[in-house]
């Protein structure tokens, strides 16, 4: 039964001892000793409160932490369940914490979780980030119930976020995924997902675990694979997403490269799926939506626009080759605008992203150079949004994102036409 190649012998033994489970909750980690205890306790409480009769396993798939993350997971527990529960849990919750094998990355951590879920014949799985500070027991209910009780295969998260947060998601990933595949999944790379055992098995059957998916881009890969293969999709409102401050050394252009290249790679794989799609439709949404108080997010649009203009001065030839003379002239015109008058038109931004997707498809530049050259344009677009949304309420800012999504949908024909052109015509 247990034929997973990525699991160690001791993990095999633990899994075999458990036998089977209804719910598997996976927590990938790497040096998260400070935060993972809260996550494990929230998951335990969620399982105890909402699924007291279901057999559940918490799986910590660790990337070789040196700060004792796995020890924290093994020892984390809720001292007194009676303080949070009205009745006692019937089934015990098993826990497995192990270092995963394979290429270092979140994708490899997830692969081990999927393998354990398959072996335990889990009906529902959840994955949550290990650096979450805002996770509550309700997250488990909201991510598991649509799978266990309503027959959904994939549940994406829906958060309330500060209007300036999630700029890569808001300006690229969400509009692009929505226009391509026709489903309005608001947080396609949210990081906290629920899915059925059937989908976990399907993911394992894909030959991607030695590719970049194992290192980065697993979130968008999971969402897109589920949508493109016709699985039933839903989303659940989880409230605010607050997590550990991101690594200050993390490079924006590397982040952009990882997310956008994963998106573009999937466009290659599912060209036959997204090409005929027109418009988009909402996906069922679970959970009671409420307003969340969000912390102020400091931004420096002057710095962003400075980098945009540096890009315009230095990357002229590269941008001209990717965008073409017409759109490049429009970008050039933006460079001459004063900071307070700066506005990146949404139609132009849509064509920029589509032009980059086409350039990626036609191999115009090495992928990393190509996508990293998008960084100044992305900063220009982000600064433009921040300036426009400075005095807006959250709902108004969301309406701006909705307009952008519509523009992506309306301009999709341009992408389809250019995509289909023979590669030789592009040189």
């Amino acid at each position: 039964m247990m034929n997973a190649v990525t699991l160690r012998t001791e993990v095999h033994e633990q899994v075999e001892k458990i036998g089977s489970a209804d719910i598997v909750v996976g927590i990938p980690s790497f040096n998260n000793a400070n935060t993972i205890s809260h996550v494990v306790r929230a998951v335990q409480a969620g399982l105890a409160k909402y699924f007291p009769t279901r057999r559940a396993v918490i799986v910590n798939s660790d990337g070789g932490s040196s700060d004792g993350t796995m020890e924290v997971v093994r020892n984390a527990s809720i001292e007194d369940f009676s303080a949070i529960l009205l009745h006692h849990r019937v089934e015990p919750i098993s826990r497995i914490a192990f270092p995963y094998s394979g290429i270092p990355g979140k994708g490899s951590a997830f692969r081990s979780i999927f393998e354990i879920a398959r072996t335990l014949e889990a009906k529902a799985c959840v994955v949550v980030d290990s650096d979450l500070r805002s996770i509550t027991p309700e997250w488990i209910e909201l991510l598991v119930k649509p799978v266990l009780e309503d027959g959904y295969d994939y549940v994406a998260p829906l958060y309330h976020r500060h209007k300036f947060d999630g700029t890569i998601t808001n300006s690229i990933v969400y509009p692009l995924t929505r226009a391509l595949y026709g489903k309005r999944v608001r947080q396609p790379i949210g990081g906290d997902f629920g899915f059925s055992g059937r989908v976990a098995g399907f993911y394992l059957s894909k030959d991607v675990w030695e590719s970049d998916v194992a290192r980065f881009g697993i979130d968008i890969w999971m969402t897109t694979t589920a949508i493109a293969n016709g699985f039933r999709i839903a989303q659940s409102f989880l409230g605010a997403k607050i997590h550990d401050a991101k690594d200050p050394g993390a490079d924006l252009s590397s982040m952009l490269y990882q997310v956008v290249s994963a998106n573009f790679d999937l466009m290659e794989e599912y060209a036959g799926v997204w090409m005929p799609v027109h418009g988009s439709e909402p996906v069922p949404t679970f959970g009671f939506q409420y307003t969340v108080g969000l912390e102020h997010v400091p931004v420096n649009t002057g710095r962003m626009l400075g980098l945009f203009r540096e890009g315009l001065n230095n990357l002229r030839e590269i941008w001209l080759g990717i965008l073409g003379a017409g759109d490049f002239r429009e970008v050039e015109r933006l460079g001459a605008l004063a900071d307070d008058a700066f506005c990146f038109p949404i139609g132009l931004w849509t064509r920029v992203i589509y032009d980059y997707a086409i350039a990626f498809h036609h191999n115009k530049l090495p992928p990393e150079h190509l996508i990293k050259s998008l960084t100044p344009l992305y900063l220009g677009k982000t600064a433009s949004f921040i300036l426009a949304a400075a005095n807006m309420e959250g709902a108004e800012a969301e309406a701006e994102i909705e307009k952008l999504c519509k523009a992506f949908e309306d301009n999709k024909e341009y992408l389809v036409m250019s995509w289909s052109k023979h590669k030789g015509d592009q040189t």
Partner: protein, 235 residues
């Protein structure tokens, strides 16, 4: 009378004798050439098909090799160009072997020299092509990284790096071709050292004002950058 006739026929006989010896060699050369052309054509066909199979043209587009050959006014696809290079290389090789079959000492010596030089010429060509692609790749990567890091002189840095790499690659290729190696080495040292010295002098003495402006420009914006850091979570 007989002596006179002998005087006439002996050279003719000698010529005929030489021709009898030469004719099989000449026929052998023709056969070698004919077979060589056929084999060269066949290998060209295999090379082009193999390059198509591994998407060499797309790779060349990405690495800037296509742009390089376009600058040289070559408008065929890189795979077709490499196929043609292979074809003509094999034709030259066939010609050398064919001429060798004639067994003429002067030609043999020439062929030996040319064949002996071929590996060096081939290595130099490979160094130049690979070097050009690598220099383009590295300088483009540096340009993009420098722009994304906010350096004002990104293009200058990337351009200077590209020139330095090309100088290094040219020196390596010429060293491989054994063209006045000591002069090449000396020239390379002078140019490389000269660039470094020129930069030091221009920054230290001649371009002190320009250097000051550049340094001031780089440092001037740092306090502003620190004043309001972005704390956006982009994902």
């Amino acid at each position: 009378m007989m002596d006179f006739l002998n005087l006439i026929f002996e050279p003719l006989q000698a010529v005929f004798q030489t021709f009898r010896v030469f004719l099989p060699n000449f026929l052998a050369m023709l056969v070698i050439m004919l077979l060589g052309i056929l084999v060269a054509w066949l290998i060209k066909f295999i090379v082009v098909k193999s390059l198509h199979a591994v998407h060499f043209d797309s790779w060349s587009d990405r690495m800037g090799f296509t742009a390089l050959i376009r600058k040289g006014d070559v408008w065929s696809r890189p795979s077709a160009m490499l196929g043609s290079i292979t074809f003509w290389f094999l034709i030259i090789l066939t010609l050398m072997i064919g001429l060798g079959a004639l067994k003429i000492p002067a030609i043999d010596s020439l062929v030996e020299q040319v064949v002996g030089y071929m590996p060096r010429a081939f290595s130099a060509a490979v160094i130049l092509i690979v070097g050009y692609v690598v220099a383009g790749f590295v300088s483009q990567g540096v340009l993009i990284a420098a722009v994304n890091s906010g350096y004002h002189y990104a293009k200058l840095i990337a351009g200077a790096l590209r020139i330095l790499l090309m100088v290094l690659i040219l020196a390596m290729a010429m060293e491989q071709l054994q063209i006045a190696p000591s002069i090449v080495l000396a020239a390379f040292s002078i140019i490389f050292g000269g660039i470094v010295a020129a930069l030091s002098i221009s920054f230290g003495v001649g371009g002190i004002e320009a250097a000051r402006r550049m340094i001031e420009r780089e440092t001037a914006e740092k306090p502003d950058a620190g004043k309001a850091k972005d704390e956006i979570d982009p994902l």
